[in-house]
């Protein structure tokens, strides 16, 4: 018996014209899809089941939390109305204290994230003095300070907010991106090792990275200044400062602005709203969030990217994963060391 096979789709006869012979021959020629070894399948299923049970349990808790939040919101409205009444009546106003100042909002939550020991949901407002704590495994969160800075917390991190542009890092790691902050507005990160100030930048501050008595400041873009007493150290993009609790020496070393060391940041990056956004803007966002230089293989592609727009959502994807939305768009890509190359598919 003779069989056809071809890699070319044009060689498959159209079912409407000439039946199903081509598809039948292709499928018969290829035979059944390879079976997964039963031992592997069992192990993977068992693992996935555990993950799924945990996810479903968390989803139920969040749902309950959401209902409780609604009730709390109602109660808060009543309290607010009462407070407003107090404020409007001069004889009562002198007894009412100032409302807590909101300094940030929660943009994204992964895993367990607590604010003042209670679980928090995206959209929550945070006041000065709020203490945020992320779980030990698979957790993290992204905040937006009122000043415009994006602040992301890695797992096992504890932070105390102090104002709309400052906070204390007590444990773990934070990543700050000042891209959307008001011009000239810096952010200050206090630690027990000293104070880190940014100058329009993206950077990470981590306590206890390679050693428990160590602080590292890694700069992806711009510049940061570290102050300890009267001593000041600066670090520029692509540099890392390392300080030890028992030493005055501050070491500076080069680092890469992309790669696995930044993966945790990608996992808690709030997704860009791509609906109606030019492809060029989206690609610039990916470039910035992944620390890779954006380059087009040809000028015509750059021009098309500036005018063509996207639709849909990339929620649930990291910036790099989200590049899969380019499939079928007329834009291909290659992610290489330090480079995001846009080319024809």
């Amino acid at each position: 018996m003779s069989k056809h096979f071809s890699a070319d789709p044009s060689s498959i006869p159209d079912a409407r014209d000439s039946g199903e012979v081509g598809i039948r021959d292709l499928i018969q020629g290829a035979g059944p899809r390879p079976a997964v070894p039963s031992e592997d399948l069992a192990r993977i299923r068992s693992f996935a089941k555990e993950q799924w049970r945990e996810m479903a349990r968390t989803a139920r808790e969040r749902s309950r939390f959401g209902r409780n939040t609604t009730l709390l919101a109602l109660a808060a409205s009543v309290l607010l109305a009462v407070a407003l009444g107090w404020w409007l009546m001069p004889e009562w106003a002198e007894w009412g204290g100032p409302a807590p100042e909101l300094v940030a909002s929660v943009e994204l939550v992964r895993g367990q994230v607590l604010v003042d020991d209670s679980r928090v949901a995206p959209g929550s407002g945070l006041s000065a003095a709020a203490v945020l704590e992320t779980g030990r495994e698979a957790s993290g969160t992204a905040l937006r300070l009122i000043g415009g800075h994006s602040v992301r917390l890695d797992k096992d991190t504890r932070v105390r907010l102090t104002s709309d542009s400052s906070f204390e890092l007590e444990r773990g790691a934070v990543y700050v991106d000042s891209f959307l902050a008001a011009d000239g507005a810096g952010v200050e990160v206090s630690t027990s090792y000293g104070l880190v100030k940014d100058i329009g930048t993206q950077f990470e501050v981590r306590i206890g990275g390679r050693a428990s008595t160590e602080l590292t400041v890694r700069v992806r873009e711009g510049e940061v200044v570290f102050e300890r007493g009267d001593v000041t150290h600066a670090a520029k993009a692509g540099e890392e400062l390392t300080l030890r609790r028992d030493s005055e020496v501050v070491e500076t070393a080069p680092i890469e602005r992309h790669g696995a060391a930044w993966d945790w940041v990608a996992r808690v990056t709030p997704p860009m709203e791509i609906e109606g956004a030019p492809i060029a803007s989206y690609l610039e966002w990916v470039s910035r969030e992944t620390g890779r230089e954006l380059r087009y293989s040809e000028e015509a592609l750059a021009k098309s990217a500036a005018t063509e727009t996207l639709s849909g959502s990339i929620e649930g994807f990291t910036p790099e994963e989200s590049l899969s939305i380019l499939a079928g768009s007329g834009f291909g890509y290659q992610v290489d060391t330090g480079l995001l190359l846009i080319k024809k598919p």
Binding site: I27, Q28, A138, V335, T337
Partner: protein
């Protein structure tokens, strides 16, 4: 199914496992040269991420597309950690496919090499089947590999014969598109080759 999984429906999880884990495993196996231990790790890591983010899944991307995107990222991460560049991995893969396809169109290869090339085409067919909605892939295999009559396919899918016929038509059309997409992703080098449209004949 995703909503039911989030709600804790065990049957939905079992359907997800039956329909999506085997294609995901095959996807990883092809890209990791069959290193079983590594494939298991990558697949588990992919599932961990996808299940964790299931609540935010909006269905703009097909579930299998999402799984493959995350899996591809995991594989790139593996090579990055083992000091190979992610870009090289993807490039090598594309290059292999282009080479295979041009050689097939050329028609001048015989012997073991030709058998290897044919095996690559078979992988493309399996990839295309894996890319379809799971019941489409199953229906096509039942019909063309197991010679299951349409009436029985209808019973297995819990529908009438007419509906099964209609589903098979849609499945064939979806297969045609999925296969075309896979080949088109091989790049202009293949598409522009006149020999690429030639059909190959081989004894089975």
């Amino acid at each position: 199914m995703v909503r039911q999984m989030i709600a804790g429906d065990e049957a939905a999880f079992e359907r997800f496992s039956d329909d999506y884990i085997p294609p995901l495993y095959r996807f990883a196996t092809q890209r990791l040269q069959g290193d079983r231990e590594l494939v298991r790790d990558v697949v588990q890591s992919t599932l961990c991420q996808v299940i964790e983010k299931l609540v935010s899944f909006r269905g703009e991307a097909a579930l299998m597309t999402w799984l493959c995107a995350v899996c591809r990222n995991e594989i790139a991460g593996h090579f990055r950690r083992s000091k190979k560049r992610a870009g090289e991995v993807e490039f090598r893969e594309d290059e292999d496919l282009i080479g295979v396809s041009i050689a097939l169109g050329d028609g001048g290869i015989d012997g073991p090499e030709r058998a290897a090339l044919r095996s690559e085409v078979h992988e493309l067919v399996h990839d295309a089947l894996d890319a379809l909605p799971p019941h489409y892939g199953k229906a096509l295999e039942w019909k063309y590999l197991d010679n299951v009559p349409v009436k029985e396919i209808a019973q297995r899918l819990g529908m009438g014969s007419k509906a099964a016929e209609s589903l098979l038509t849609r499945a064939r059309e979806a297969f045609r598109k999925a296969y075309a997409n896979l080949v088109n992703h091989m790049g202009p080098a293949l598409r522009d080759t006149p020999a690429a449209s030639q059909r190959m004949e081989t004894a089975s």
